[in-house]
Symmetry: C2
Subunit: 366 residues, 2 copies
Amino acid sequence: MRVWRFGLLLIGAPVLSGCVAAALPVLAGATVLRNQFSEGQDAPRRAEPTAQPGSAVRAEDLVGREFRTEDGQVVRIIGAGQLPPPDGAVPRAATAPAAARPAEVAVPGGMQFLYGSAEAAAISIQTYQALWRYVDDRVLDRLAGQDVASVVLASDATLERMTFVPCAGKPLAVVFDVDETVLLNTGYEADDARRGTGFDPDRWSRWEATGAGQVEAVPGAVETIEAMRRREVAVIFNSNRASANAEGTAAALRAAGLGEAVHGDTLWLKGDAPGGSAKDARRWAIAERYCVVAMVGDQLGDFSDLFNSGDAPPRIRRNLAAQTMIAPMWGTGWFLLPNPVYGAGVTGGYEEIFPPNLQWADPAEE
Amino acid sequence: MRVWRFGLLLIGAPVLSGCVAAALPVLAGATVLRNQFSEGQDAPRRAEPTAQPGSAVRAEDLVGREFRTEDGQVVRIIGAGQLPPPDGAVPRAATAPAAARPAEVAVPGGMQFLYGSAEAAAISIQTYQALWRYVDDRVLDRLAGQDVASVVLASDATLERMTFVPCAGKPLAVVFDVDETVLLNTGYEADDARRGTGFDPDRWSRWEATGAGQVEAVPGAVETIEAMRRREVAVIFNSNRASANAEGTAAALRAAGLGEAVHGDTLWLKGDAPGGSAKDARRWAIAERYCVVAMVGDQLGDFSDLFNSGDAPPRIRRNLAAQTMIAPMWGTGWFLLPNPVYGAGVTGGYEEIFPPNLQWADPAEE
């Protein structure tokens, strides 16, 4: 238990005073940009605590110490006082849910994994590191005068014949989905788990409008997005949140440390272009102005509406993404974050998920 | 529906005759090694069908056609007949489970995601692509005479002070966990979902011994592992499957198209070194002979036993992996595959997953 003591101290007070401002590099690729923090111009937008393991280590003892990462980069801890709140962040009140909270609510495995596990956080960081390396390479290509390709499928593309919109010298951009891609909707899902009554669009709409105090950033997203902006790569959000709730969504992004999103410019929502929940029209509108070098999401629809053009059973859809010309795109311009909580990835009956030829018979029962 | 017809045709007969031997590059990085298949020496070890979308496309019509990937690589479909079975593969019989199958078994969301979804498959491919690029870079470093670092923590390392075992010219290797890292235990989980009675170690042991016919490879694993072996990077498995079931595990790896694993050489199991389920002793034994440039798993314990030295609550453990010096390792030598079905990532009570300050109150109920 000794090893966890310091972490336990911090977890109770996520964005409160007294936490150590350890400037640890979450992303090796972005570290060079983030070796030092001061409390002025370059203060971190996100005052997330750092659980620093080690027996009998106090926050104050870490100040001034240097750490060397495996690849030789040096990081120094320079602050251990109260951090300024993130610019414009909505203060997080320890609000009690309106309905009584059952003494013990069973949390579904997908939620345990996505909102609580070290493994999901590690996968997110790993994915954001891969994204950063990919985008940084494209920035270098552009600086070297080489052609840079868009990863937005053209309007005449099919999944068999993939063609992409032209880039032609437009400024570079990365297009992100919002929910469970850059933002964890921890507060909504906490409420959902407690109720156990399933998705409610009206409640979701109220969440969009008022939930900014109970969101978290997906691990790795803040550092990657900051690094992109410093590299002058435009960060564009394309979400199926409602256009009417643009203000609440911008507030949630800001509160999570993801910076400013401007509706109609860097924030595209349902209703901003034809097609309803389909995102292609918005992607094409964005691609008119930008050379989109990467897209990031948690659902296939965050990359192309072509995936949603039929009612394919889960394993057909799986083969479509994994065993066709599409497959090389994953990790090469298209980047997916795990979401075992909701969406198209969490559907399918028994025989659809477990085909008969893959069902095992326990020999002890034969 | 039109678009899916061809996929539907194939899904019923995963490793059977008549499927198209489409040599599609799952991994762009490995494509140069895999541009052509013939049915002789270079025949693919895995006869996985390819769901090739496109209206009215028949398998035979694809033969001889060329596809160009986004990065300009050309892939040609050259076979549309019966493929030879994978070497030594256990034939897959369409066995009926011993107990009667309920007409409708509700599949937990984590299983739907991991065994059925396109999104999980895409994440696996993305992760294996990142792994391949990382390892290929280390191979190039070694060829250029540069130092290559091990990613196995030394015995005196802590999570605060990470030191690694020396490499000193040893042959390069990658260490993989087995279950839900390279191998999907689809058959066992199908049985588990049907019963709904939770994990049974005796049944799992029988699965290890007899399940080779009902496993699948994690998407991307086969191609990446083949590419590594061609690059003369040793592929070592370090699993907590039982030493006594080594033969069954080797058969399962073979059946999934992952090639040969030799117990005590390239296959390390529980009991092969002191420590029980702890894997450090086995990692250090492997690192005596090899320069381990990457490790791949689905649990933190696949990277270091230090993560399992306490009984940290989920979110402390999460901070430990995501907000310490450990964080830059994810995607930089340490690679994690998603597993929302079992293990340390699928634990935690309501207040552990949803801290009070992140619980939202629906304003409609205030």
